[in-house]
Every structure is written in C-alpha cells, then in structure tokens.
C-alpha cells in the first residue's frame, strides 16, 4: 500500500516536473532565440562584414566544438550533475587519436573510434565515482579534469602530436584534417565544411536520445527527483553511469573535430572549454539544479556564445571588453530565467 502511494506520488511529481519544464523552457528558448536574432541584427548594423556567407560559416564552424561539448554536458546537467572535465577529456581524446594514428600507425577510423572510446571511458569512470561511490559530481569531475590533463601530457610526452598531412605524391589523400575541414557540401561559392555536418548529426542524435529513449526519460526523472525515481524501481546508478558515458562519447567526438581542425593534438589546450560549454547550456535555459533542459536551447546557447565572440572581434572591440560583455550576457540570461521561474511560483 505504502509503496503504491509513493509510486502515485512520484508519478504526480514527475508529471508536474514535466509540465513545468515544458512551459519553462519553451519561454526560455523563445527568449534565447530572440537574443540570438537581436545579436545578429546588432552586429550586422555595426559591421558590414558580419553578415556575409563566409563569416556565418565561420561562426558555425567556431560553434562546432563548444556545441558538441555542450550537447554532451546537457544530459549530465539535466540529472543535476556537472562535468568540469569536459575540456581536458576532450584534449585527452584528441591526444589518444593522434598518438594512435601518428605513432602506432593505425588507420584514421580506428583513431576516431579510440577518441570516442577514450571520452566514453572517462565518462564511465566519472559516472561510477558519482553514482556508486557517492562522490559529489563537482569533486569527481574536478579530479578527472586534473587526471586527464596530466595524462595528455604523459602520453604526448608534453609535445604536440601532428597528424600525417597530404604529401606532394598523394595530394588527394584523405587526411585527418579533412574530417572537420574537408569540403562537405558546396553551394555556389559557399563551402560548408564537414565539421558543420558532424555538429548537425550530433544535434539530431542528441535530441532523439533525450526525447525518444528510456535514457532521456530517466535523465529528466533523476534530475527532478532522484529518490522517487529510485523507489519506483529504476536502477538509478546504472542509468547515471550510462548518462555520463554518453556525455563522454560526445566529448570524444568534440576532441576529433578539434584535433582535425588544428591538424594536430595540442596537449596544452583544453582547460577553460568546459566553462564555455556549461555557459552555453545555461544560456540555453537548462537549469543547473537539474530536471529540465532542451537540446535546441543548448544549441542556441552555443550559438549566442560564438556569435558574441565573433561579432565583438569583427567590430574590433578590445579583448578585455569582449570578456566583460560575454560574462554580462551570461549573468543576465540566468537572472531572467530565475525571475521567470519565481513569477510562476
């Protein structure tokens, strides 16, 4: 009898949580999208060079890495968790890909699989630490951030690892750089590089997983009320590990795109990227306390970040002010979200 009551109650709270999330994030999404449009209009008026096909492609290309990281961490933030190891796990994945291709002589596809597996494995370890061993996500991922930062340096011997490039004898060979920068599809003069298509594919995959699968449903359930989800017979630990592993796999793919764009794995790079990704998720309306969030919101959030960075640079705003403005946008967008939530309650 008691069990049944709990189940019923849980169902109620879940429904309530779901209702809230629909109304809440819909409004935030509209807000975020409006902000993006306003940014585009503002920068187009400020600089005649902003709204050109090539610059728009540049913005999309600059969004890819941060966007893919943000997609992965969206799943984690919806559970009420956080992942501070995104940036360095990304670097670690790209170093693993570079070492396996350049030093061990494996084919490109194998290097890519190794990068994704590396990311997923790191996510799996973090997930296990958080769910089974009850480490707070902040600490577990902080530790993972340092561990992977060190490991990248160890494996690369503290030096950048370069991928084999096109040779004069074989100028049309498909090299690692082409994974992100190869000419995907061409519309007249405008070339949309592969990285953009990879990003698009990841968006589709992420929204299918979040909206159409068990993992997506349990993701929201754990974030709204972990205890109730556990009591209704869901193996919360296992699903949490799965969610962190999934997030890690996205990080691995981001690592491939980053390394491919640079033609090398740079072991010194990476730290700081996690905060950009988390900022994108938050601007997109996903609450850091968990239980709500959308893929579209995250994508818009990532675009707001890169549009701001690109636009301010094209306008030649001094660097120090660029950082101030981006920080201000982050604070204002979260404040608006909080105010809207309060009004509802």
């Amino acid at each position: 009898m008691a069990n049944l009551n709990i189940l019923v109650n849980q169902e109620k709270t879940e429904k309530k949580g779901l209702g809230n999330f629909l109304n809440g994030t819909a409004a935030q999404k509209v807000l975020a999208f409006a902000a993006l449009i306003i940014l585009f209009i503002f920068f187009s008026l400020a600089s005649e060079f902003f709204l050109t096909a090539n610059n728009v492609i540049s913005i999309i290309l600059a969004t890819c890495v941060n966007g893919i990281l943000a997609l992965g961490v969206t799943f984690i933030i919806i559970t009420g968790g956080i992942d501070l190891s995104l940036g360095t796990v990304m670097t670690f994945s790209s170093v693993m890909a570079a070492v396996s291709i350049s030093n061990w002589g494996l084919p490109l596809w194998a290097g890519c699989i190794i990068a994704v597996v590396t990311g997923a494995f790191c996510g799996c370890v973090t997930g296990t630490l958080i769910s089974k061993l009850k480490l707070p996500p902040f600490i577990a991922t902080l530790g993972m951030m340092m561990v992977t930062k060190g490991l990248s340096l160890v494996i690369s011997d503290a030096a950048p690892v370069y991928f084999p490039d096109k040779t004069p004898e074989n100028p049309s060979a498909f090299v690692f750089r082409d994974i992100a920068l190869g000419n995907g599809i061409q519309f007249g003069d405008v070339v949309i590089p592969n990285a953009v298509w990879i990003f698009l594919a990841m968006i589709v995959i992420a929204s299918i997983i979040l909206n159409k699968t068990k993992l997506g449903r349990y993701d929201f359930a754990i974030g709204s009320n972990e205890e109730a989800t556990r009591l209704s017979g869901v193996n919360v630990n296992a699903w949490k590990i799965a969610i962190y592993t999934l997030g890690g796999a996205f990080v691995g793919i981001a690592g491939i795109v980053m390394a491919s764009r640079l033609g090398s794995a740079q072991p010194a790079l990476g730290q700081g990227y996690e905060l950009d990704a988390i900022a994108a998720v938050v601007i997109g309306g996903t609450s850091l306390s968990g239980g709500s969030g959308t893929i579209l919101g995250t994508v818009i959030g990532a675009f707001i970040m890169s549009t701001l960075t690109n636009g301010l640079k094209v306008m030649a705003v001094p660097q120090q002010w660029q950082t101030v403005i981006i920080g201000g946008v982050l604070i204002v967008s979260v404040l608006l979200d909080l105010m809207r939530r309060k009004q509802k309650n």
């Binding site: 050109t52 890495v65 902080l142 950048p160 490039d165 640079l262």
Partner: protein, 350 residues
C-alpha cells in the same frame, strides 16, 4: 539547500586539496621532479647527473637552481629546458624546471616561485609572467640573499640584476620591417598577440605597431586581437580580422600559437597567397607553412641559448661574479631561403 551543501562541501574539499598539494610540493617534490625530468633525457645524462649529485652531497652542499619558466609543454619551453640542463651539467649544478600550463596563469607561477624559495636555493631563474605580481617574492629572495636571474622577458624590478632575454621589441620591429618590405610598404596589417599582461607579449606587440606607425605612414595597423596563444582561439581571432578587413594585406602572429592560428585562418578562408603571414617563434606548423609557401617567414629567438645563459648567469651570481644587466640572447629571421642552413636549424624546433 542540497546544492548549497554540495557547493560548500565541494569548496572545502577543493581547499583541503589545495592545502595538501601545497604542502607536498614544498618538500619531497623537487627531487621527484628532478628525477622524472632527467629520466626523460637520455639515460647517459641521467647517470651522470646522479653521480655528480652524490659526490656533491658527500662533500660540499649541493647547488640547486630552480628554474621557474612561463610554460612547460610548449616546444619553446622544452628547448629552454634543454639549454638549462646543458648548462647545469657542464657547471655541475642541479636544476628543477617548471612552469604553468598557459601564459595567463600568473597565480600558478607565483605558487611555483614560492615553492622554489622555500627550498632555500643558491640562485633562482625566473621568467616572470607579471613582474609586479612577483614583487613580494622577489623581496623575499633579496632578504634571504638569493640572487634572481630573469630570463625570456625582463623582470621589472631593481632586485633582478641580470636578464637573459631576446630583445623582443627589437625583434618585433625587425618583423615589422620584413612585413612592410613584403607587402610593398602600403596597405592594412593585422596582428594576433598571445597576451595583454606579459612583458614579452607587450614588447612584441608594441615593437611591431610602433615601427609600422613611425616608419611606414602608408601602412594601417589594425586593432590587435588576442588569442591567449591557444591555436583555436587565435584561429578565430585571425578569421575575424580577415572578415572585418577583406583588404588586409598581411597578418603578424606574435608567438607560436598565435602564428599557427593565423596560418589556420588563412588556410580555412582560402586566402593562401593573398595574405602575407609573418610569425614569431618556430614550431612544426610554422616550418611546414614556410616550406609550402603559406607563410613568408618568422622571427626566432634562441631558446636553447636562453636556458643555457640563464643558468650560467645564476651560477656566476651565486659565485659572486659580476653579470651584465642585460644578456641579449639574440634573434634571427628565417624564411624559405635560409630555413635549411645549420645556423637556423640550430635555433628552430618542431
């Protein structure tokens, strides 16, 4: 509530970790570090260094010179480290070599400097990320009678009597002259710089900009863009320059990462041959770009010489010998015509 508690817990654990690592780096770390560093080198040198250390501990006190650099994993710093180790071996002293991950981590570097002082060494070599921020530690060293030798960039303090460095301002001016020559003395020129606070970044920016403004009235210098020396961020910065100024004739990258970003941007926007690239520092990306004609050329410092001369000057200072105020470690211009010559091969690195 739950979040608050977690945050408090998180912060306290982070602080506890900080304290623990802080303590542990104070004492046992130096020897471990030294061992791992030497073990990376060839086995022969490792044996030699260890033998020497043993001899020293038996007789007189071992001479330890900590080298606190601005970085560690970049090829440039690895070359500086190589030079420092070379000098240490020849002089029979032992060194430790460390530096923060990025050139913006001023706080991390101060911690390293503090830990180095705690070892009560005979002398210290310091490449300060921010001279002013290091002042209290320099005063501490001065009070303890530990000579401090500046390297890579000048340390703006009366306590530091000797600096071994490239004259970055003069080197950047040389880059400006080359750029002006290559673009025919007129047009728009952009620049991507790695930082706004470090002295070397400022010198490399100002040396270039001042020369352009004072000596080439027909060249317009655009607002400098900053990329933290990060390849990806520098790429975006250079792309923004090209987008906002379709008529830009040349772009200068003020360090290895910045120049790599400029090269990436020019390639991604299919502007190879239309935009003249002049860089600073070498690295595989720059060398490949020069060989394939994407970049015109680059200024290089002599990193091995910087490391060598810094340790040598530190040793002299400890012995009470006089050092000149500024030891210029020199710079060289390299392009397609001289890249394969032995003098250039000796100072560039992949």
């Amino acid at each position: 509530m739950r979040i608050k508690k977690l945050l408090v817990l998180g912060l306290s654990v982070a602080m506890a970790m900080g304290v623990m690592t802080g303590c542990s780096t104070d004492k046992p770390a130096p020897k471990d570090e030294q061992k791992t560093e030497t073990s990376k080198q060839e086995e022969k040198t490792e044996e030699k260094v260890e033998e020497k250390n043993e001899e020293k501990t038996e007789g007189e006190a071992e001479i330890v010179i900590p080298v606190v650099s601005k970085g560690f994993q970049h090829q440039f710093w690895q070359a500086v480290k190589m030079g420092a180790e070379q000098a240490a071996e020849e002089l029979g002293v032992s060194i430790t070599f460390e530096g923060p991950e990025t050139e913006d981590q001023i706080d991390k570097q101060l911690e390293m400097l503090q830990a180095a002082l705690a070892k009560n060494p005979q002398a210290i070599c310091l490449a300060a990320l921010d001279s002013k921020a290091a002042t209290p530690y320099l005063e501490q060293a001065d009070a303890a009678g530990i000579p401090v030798i500046g390297f890579d960039s000048g340390v703006d303090s009366p306590i530091v009597k000797t600096t071994c460095a490239t004259d970055n301002y003069a080197a950047a001016a040389a880059a400006a002259h080359k750029m002006a020559e290559l673009i025919g003395g007129e047009g728009k020129v952009g620049l991507v710089v790695h930082g706004q606070t470090s002295q070397s970044a400022k010198d490399r920016r100002d040396g270039f900009m001042d020369t352009m403004k004072n000596e080439y009235p027909n060249i317009t210098v655009l607002e400098p863009q900053y990329g933290d020396g990060d390849h990806a961020k520098s790429t975006e910065a250079a792309k923004a320059i090209i987008t906002a100024n379709p008529d830009v004739k040349g772009i200068y990258g003020a360090n290895e990462g910045s120049a790599a970003g400029v090269i990436n941007a020019v390639k991604e926007l299919n502007q190879v041959g239309k935009i003249t690239i002049v860089g600073f520092d070498s690295g595989k990306i720059m060398i490949d770009a020069i060989n394939s004609g994407v970049a015109a050329g680059s200024i290089t410092q002599d990193p091995v010489g910087i490391g060598y001369k810094a340790v040598e000057a530190a040793y002299k200072a400890y012995k009470g010998e006089e050092n000149p105020e500024f030891i210029d470690t020199g710079f060289k211009w390299f392009d397609k015509t001289n890249i394969d010559t032995p003098e250039i091969q000796a100072v560039i690195y992949e």
